[in-house]
């Protein structure tokens, strides 16, 4: 390690092992310290006008200690985050086939629209007359979602898919409670996304699993057998997390309804059917839509999302507040005060304000851009791309449901046949070296070493072919038990990271070296 004159390390100690440069950089792959490690005390990248002198009204609670925040000038800040960004993979760099996540292209028009001051620079509590355009946008988007799903009403405020699930289950619970009687169980397929059981539990239900058939679908007979007076709802994902359509959906809905329960549909996979199938026609009662999946709002490295929920007529009275209502030529926000007359049975408010406006603008821009023909084409191309993947890869990778017919928007594989102790993880890391983000791994849980590949419709055939080539190449290595795959990735900014260590001795915030030592 080399020290500069202040005795501060100017070169990362750990770098020396593997690279041959003094700085530890490799040309355009630049190592970047934490902001806390930069000599940034007293620095700042924001200038302010001087403050007038006033008598403090802080009630004697003036801050006494430093917060401990490093400040960087604008040049340093731009460089820090630009360098960090370059250590990320992203849709903008290449195919990002994370199954269940619908990593499609994020149109740049939508970014421009979301930043129009008329949308971005308005306060949620402005008087109604000053935000008619915003109310109308929320209303219009809601109307399209209703029409696209064939449902009866929509709640726009949920902040993401899981929040939407909660919204749906709370409406279901309210409806059931309004009917009287106590139902305590929610049935969830084994293959369901983790948010489904977690949400059901959060909503106060006990969760039971429904088994799957060999063809990767809900076992209708088992489901029917389990239905009864204690079952409140069934949560079905359709297309399901194996990337397959539930052909018995209408019958499932009928059976569930007959038993007095309700049907929640996880709409995360709506992209496969948008414009071609309306879930409302399958008898469901509530479904969330991830605007950050089907409707292309950017994932942003983890969010924000938006999870509007569409409801059947039966659930509509129980939908949350607030919502926008069209009243002749005027749009009104129905909040607590006005709900009395309109919406007395609402289960209440799920969040401050009225939802993810910044996602609504993008989603509406997406819908208008694609239009009726384009949205249908979205579903068709998404499904075609996935089937192409499935058929071009099933000879080298085990496709557990490949024989049972076409898939929808995702192709599911397993790591059956890998040798030398190699598994899905190793193949994934090999794909990283090839310049691809890996598919979803080990989900759904019903398939051993699952690999869920969702190309989306925004990939060209050339991109698919290159991915297929890379996947075939890495799969062959995995099946041959190529030990070098255990070392992958070798070209990424980091080799495999030790997750066990991270969890065993969690270091979740930076501590100054002295602090860290003291904490030992």
């Amino acid at each position: 390690m080399s020290m500069n004159r202040e005795g501060r390390a100017t070169r990362p100690e750990s770098a020396e092992a593997s690279v041959d440069t003094w700085t530890g950089n490799r040309a355009l792959m630049l190592e970047e310290p934490l902001i806390f490690e930069m000599d940034a005390r007293g620095g700042t990248g924001v200038d302010f006008a001087g403050a007038p002198k006033v008598k403090s009204r802080l009630g004697g609670l003036e801050r006494r200690r430093d917060v401990g925040l490093p400040g960087l000038s604008e040049p340093q800040t731009v460089r820090h985050y630009t360098r960090l960004s370059r250590q990320n993979y992203a849709i903008d760099l290449g195919l990002f086939p994370l199954g269940s996540c619908t990593m499609k292209h994020n149109p740049r028009l939508n970014e421009r629209i979301a930043r129009l001051p008329g949308f971005a620079d308005i306060h949620p509590l402005q008087p109604a007359d000053t935000v008619q355009g915003a109310y109308r946008l929320i209303h219009d988007l809601g109307e399209w979602l209703i029409k696209l799903t064939g449902m009866h009403s929509v709640a726009m405020s949920p902040k993401a898919g899981a929040h939407g699930e909660l919204c749906g289950l709370l409406a279901i619970r309210s409806a059931l409670e309004a009917r009287g009687g106590k139902r305590e169980v929610v049935l969830v397929p084994e293959s369901a996304h983790g948010t489904n059981p977690a949400t059901a539990a959060f909503a106060g239900y006990r969760v039971e699993n429904i088994p799957a058939t060999e063809r990767g679908r809900v076992d209708l007979a088992a489901l029917k057998a389990r239905l009864g007076p204690d079952v409140a709802a069934v949560m079905i994902t359709n297309p399901n997390t194996c990337g397959l359509f539930e052909p018995d959906m209408t019958e499932i809905s009928r059976a569930v309804h007959d038993s007095g329960a309700l049907v929640y549909c996880d709409g995360a996979n709506f992209n496969a059917i948008v414009g071609r199938v309306r879930p409302g026609d399958l008898g469901i009662d509530a479904m969330h839509i991830n605007l950050h999946k089907t409707f292309s709002t950017p994932h942003g490295g983890g969010g924000p999302g938006s999870g509007p929920v569409v409801f059947s007529e039966a659930l509509t009275p129980f939908a949350p507040l607030p919502f926008v209502e069209k009243q002749n030529d005027h749009y009104a926000l129905i909040e607590e005060e006005t709900a009395e007359d309109h919406h007395a049975r609402s289960f209440g408010r799920m969040t401050a304000f009225h939802g993810q406006m910044g996602m609504f603008t993008r989603a509406l821009s997406y819908i208008l851009s694609h239009g009726a023909d384009g949205l249908r084409q979205v579903a068709e191309d998404a499904v075609l791309n996935a089937n192409y993947m499935l058929r071009q890869l099933e000879d080298v990778l085990d496709a557990p449901y490949g024989k049972s017919g076409p898939c929808m928007h995702e192709a599911l594989f397993s790591d059956k046949g890998f040798e030398g102790g190699l598994s899905t993880l190793d193949l994934a890391k090999g794909l990283i070296d090839e310049g691809f983000h890996p598919m979803t791994m080990y989900f759904p849980l019903v398939v051993h070493g699952a690999m869920l590949v969702e190309p989306t419709e925004t990939e060209s055939k050339a991109a698919l072919d290159q991915f297929i080539g890379a996947m075939r190449s890495v799969a062959e290595r995995a099946k041959a038990g190529d030990p070098s795959l255990k070392a992958a990735p070798v070209h990424a900014p980091r080799r495999r990271l030790d997750e066990t260590l991270a969890a065993r001795k969690p270091v979740l915030v930076y501590k100054e070296p002295e602090q860290a030592q003291a904490a030992e």
């Binding site: 985050y81 630009t82 949308f119 539990a201 209408t250 915030v509």
Partner: protein
Amino acid sequence: MRYLPLADSDRQEMLRAVGASSIDDLFVDVPQAARLSAKIEGLADHASELSVERQLTALARKNMVAGEVPFFLGAGAYRHHIPASVDHLIQRGEFLTSYTPYQPEIAQGTLQALFEFQTQVARLYGCDVANASMYDGSTACWEAIVMARRITRRGKAVLSGGLHPHYVSVANTMAKFTGDVLDETLPELSPETDVERLLAAIDEETSCVVVQYPDILGRITDLTPIAEKAHEKGALLIAVVTEPVALGAIRSPGEMGADIVVGEGQSIGVGLNFGGPYVGLFACKEKFVRQMPGRLCGETVDGEGKRGFVLTLSTREQHIRREKATSNICTNSGLCALAFSVHMTLLGEKGLRRLATLNHAKAVEAAERLANVPGVELVNETFFNEFTLKLSKEARPVVRAMADKGILGGVSLGRLYPGADALQNGLVVAVTETTTHDDVEALADALQECLA
């Protein structure tokens, strides 16, 4: 269609390759009755950028833009100047179009930024640890109450009357289903907060006491006695901060003994956006870390011993623990957290302090000016950048009348507490570094006219 790369010839060739004669073959599993043959009713076919931009710009023009008029709204969402570089950086495709960092070797950018974010939040709140963000302040607040229940195994939460009414509503909604008991009340239009009530209400059944700081009327109370009482009774103190800039001027809740501190981060780096997306901040004492909701980024090393970052402690989370998870949250507010972190990095200690000083000074000046308007009385003794005025009339129509004159004069308590008679004359006014002298004069004049 500009977003769809497949050419018709590609489609034909690929259909052949998968052995389908038409695209319908791939939808065989869909029952015939459910196949939509018609187009979505009323929806036009695909449209050019120009056309979509025109349609949506027309809608945008129907809104009164905060930056173009004298503007004084707050109550949980604040208008601050965001440096241009923040938006430039969060628009980098590598941040904007990446997913939750499930493959850490090619997500170090997001992960390191989150680690820095967590540290900034923890320090700002005076806590040991913070998570990688929640949806917003209101949901973070509810998750904190749930967490307190898990930790204390008690079901009664005592909510301060100064807690944002939307946050109270959210808690009420959830409590209906979880069976938590909420001890709540309305705020009073007085300089004093309900500390005494809170102290009296905390007992052996109390899981937590929830206090907003500064509160919905802008008042600032010392949290220390509340923390002491809570701890004495085995309960937790949850502090809620809706205006993070305040913490550049006043003591952090952590310093005063709060166990969990949550809040809205929107003020730093995120615009008004009509209420969302925002970013929920969540921090707590180290000992509670395994009860936290949401994602956590942690430090580790790679195969060559180099430092790196990963998502960690995921055994708390839904994708591993399913129905036993600490929360159902999955997608959080990553990009807003990044924006928060970039802005906070630009500010630094010095900038945050200056920003807070400027906000406070401008607010004090404005409060003094407005209190001189006949029919206006300043409720607060203490405040940071937001205070409450008691008007001689009901405030809600006054706000509407001022809006007709092109002045967005504040948030009426009538809007926030419909039906609460004692509060109807209250007007909450926020003043930030973006407020000018002329803005304040315009508001003073408008109030004078409306109250005459």
